[in-house]
Symmetry: D2
Subunit: 266 residues, 4 copies
């Protein structure tokens, strides 16, 4: 018996296996539904520009940035993951920088953290630079003294810790409904899909991509007065994106379906 | 200088410290707001009876039991904890057995698990036998394919793992609104406050107590068809409370304020 | 059938159950074996004194203190826990203050953190004020560039984070064997066993106790140059115990058996 | 100001940043030092063959397999990671299957789990199919009743849980020193470096590679009587690799330096 007469192990991702059912990542589409706390802020435009690869520029609003906390539930096309809440939920924190590609406003995500391994690896496949962190945010509850809910005067909080160090904290005190969602949550994300070389024959994968998204839903968006602190406990590159000014905060729920990627350049 | 001329270190709980601010547990009242998935089921009444201490009997409905998943947000009187979502949230799984004290219907909690240390210790102060577990449950989301919300046909799931072993799984497929909350969530809990002896001079603390609760709020209660599995991976005493029949499932949000305890016997 | 004719549920601790096998905590003796990184330091004696209850004074060396990182393996008398490494291991960080009871040198532990729930609750039974933290320390490895082992020039590191905030960091660069173990690791610990009141009829349990320890074993103790930082991210009482001077560091392994408690006062 | 006049963000891996210091993964070489518990076992050779891609066959000993628990400490060339034990340690569980490439005996790793994100992503760069799990194993301690150490009669245990379900358990009761290390720990690993496509223009990365390893060190290898259980809680492909026979167990420490990869085919 030789292995070469057998089918090749398969899968959308590692681990490859005879039937493909062992793959850590299921193929897209992936459905996401989440609760979001978002704070607009401004960074030094020069610092922001240094995070943009060739093909992107700072666009119409240099220095626009945002910090986003989100608590997600997700599933693949079959919806099977929803039956095991131990695997279909994750939290996320990301920074966004306003930018432009060939005149089209987009958002660049220089840093992202999640608390589960599947979205981390799925992020790398798309080019989102997800690392591991502990993200906590106020959960809306419809009843009780301890239950915040979207209404004037209510406060929502978020925090990110990485390797046991507090990296970010934000809060939003709601004042009323917003006319529209925050800009950086409405433009497409542009990522660098990057996979390092390993053997001398390899070239790294390096592609400028955006995501094909459908099924976008927003609840009414609440707006408020925000605070945001990024602590200088990581490297200097991260520290360069600290707020120089803090804008409005937002609280809303959001859903989308991620269908796949589209190449912008390489 | 001698320590004896100084004030005694103080605090509601350990750690005691000069000003009392180091205590792990803040004094009651404690406010709770949570999302609940609950499944009524029936156990062998003989098995249930063996979990009741003197002073309690099985009451009007021998063998009535329930499994409860809850995701809580909590705060002390000041509300200060709400500013740090890393500390004001926890998940809980508990079993309840219907019982009666001097003719008053109550519920006994033979087993409980939480995922955070503060509610674990706070539980022991009240007599709730909380241990550590990983509890996950469907989170209601108002939008999206991946976002369950209370409506006919929607499914809610919960799971408990302890030390890396799956202990319980439940699901509820909603059919409509219930006329009233599930019985075992409306009667008072009766606990045995128990603190072991340590020195030869000690007697263990052992008291039959109930809790003084105010500020109870329910959202509309959804009802549905339920499933419940308790896996035989713990000890035989736990296994004796496995379902002999599974009843209705419920999904609702709930809030209460825990004011303190009341002695029923010792 | 009435519950009152049945045996009372039993157990060394909660949860009480028909046979007692559900108790979270097994009765002593408890055997411990661990790897220790310890740093002697000095605190303001006035600050230390404020942590001492009546009956204790600062003793022969006011201001003596230590920070201790330990990675433990433990078992009950039967040794059964050793078969499941998911439950028989924990890490610990504690502060110690030198003190004296009726002229006998002892050590007071004002703060302690562990990363597992069983040692947390077991600590409260003894009066150790254990809370939950993430403790990491260099693990001795006998081979490799990445494997520190006790030898001159080797560095051992420890860190404590609580709720995602870095609280303590220490390092020791070994210089040679010590003549004897660090003093605060050789004197008995004196704790306040404290369990809050809950009902109006309750008095809190409050006893000054020490522990009965047998089976003490030390490996050779390595000594070196130490660093220690306590970050001001908790309350002011904790901050008052920050180092005013840093002494020697130590690396060793240690074992003991904890047999029970002895009452010193109440 | 346009971004195109600025240097491209760089890094060995995502996140790319202006200076490259934000990369989650540092470039090789990577030094590893670990404690290993390993159990030889046999699988159905037909099942094993289905996990081999073209270019590999079952080699000289069809059905040879092993389960490996390891607790690692690691660092990059600078050794900087060793100063933060919160980031330089991880645990690992993997299965190995004996195979052959062009007549050279090698080992194939169909499944691997680690408890930290950096080794997970680093694994994917090399083609190791690492997922996230909770791995626990007996830690050797030189003293105490609760401290196992390599010696006849001592028992070492390991367990793997994934998403709160127990997946694997092993134990080894030592009988004496082995003449040599277990075979599957001495042959090179052969991986499929696989990175999914994302845009319509992409081809997945798919390469057969082996690793360039230097600095191999073994402590004396202890041998003993082993047990191994793989529980059927994952998919059928994993279940097909369950033991049909269990061989010897081994306990040892091991170090290596991973220098990079070598292409065997694509």
């Amino acid at each position: 018996m030789t292995a070469t007469s057998l089918p090749t192990p398969v899968g959308y991702s590692l681990p490859l296996s005879p039937s493909g059912t062992s793959a850590m990542i299921t193929p897209p589409p992936w459905h996401f539904a989440g609760d979001v706390i978002m704070v607009d802020y401004r960074v030094d435009p020069d610092a922001a520009a240094r995070f943009l690869p060739p093909g992107l520029d700072l666009g119409p609003d240099p220095g626009a940035a945002a910090a986003v906390f989100a608590e997600w539930q997700w599933c693949s096309e079959s919806g099977a993951e929803l039956a095991d809440p131990a695997t279909c939920q994750f939290t996320e924190f990301l920074l966004l920088i306003g930018c432009s590609h060939e005149g089209r406003p987009m958002a660049r995500c220089p840093y992202a953290w999640v608390d589960q391994p599947v979205p981390l690896v799925r992020g790398w496949i798309q080019g989102m630079p997800k690392q591991f962190g502990a993200i906590h945010q106020t959960r809306p509850k419809p009843v009780g003294v301890a239950g915040q809910r979207p209404a004037p005067g209510e406060r929502f909080h978020g925090s990110l810790s990485v390797s046991g160090r507090r990296v970010a904290e934000a809060s939003v005190k709601l004042t009323g409904l917003a006319d529209e969602p925050p800009v950086l949550h409405t433009v497409p994300l542009v990522h660098t899909r990057y996979f390092p070389a390993w053997t001398p024959e390899d070239e790294p994968v390096s592609e400028l991509v955006t995501s094909e998204v459908t099924g976008v839903e927003f609840t009414p968006v609440w707006r408020g007065v925000a605070d945001l602190r990024l602590f200088d406990v990581l490297d200097g590159d991260f520290a360069a994106l600290a707020p120089v000014e803090i804008g409005a905060g937002y609280v809303f729920s959001y859903a989308e379906t991620l269908q796949g990627g589209r190449l912008l350049g390489s």
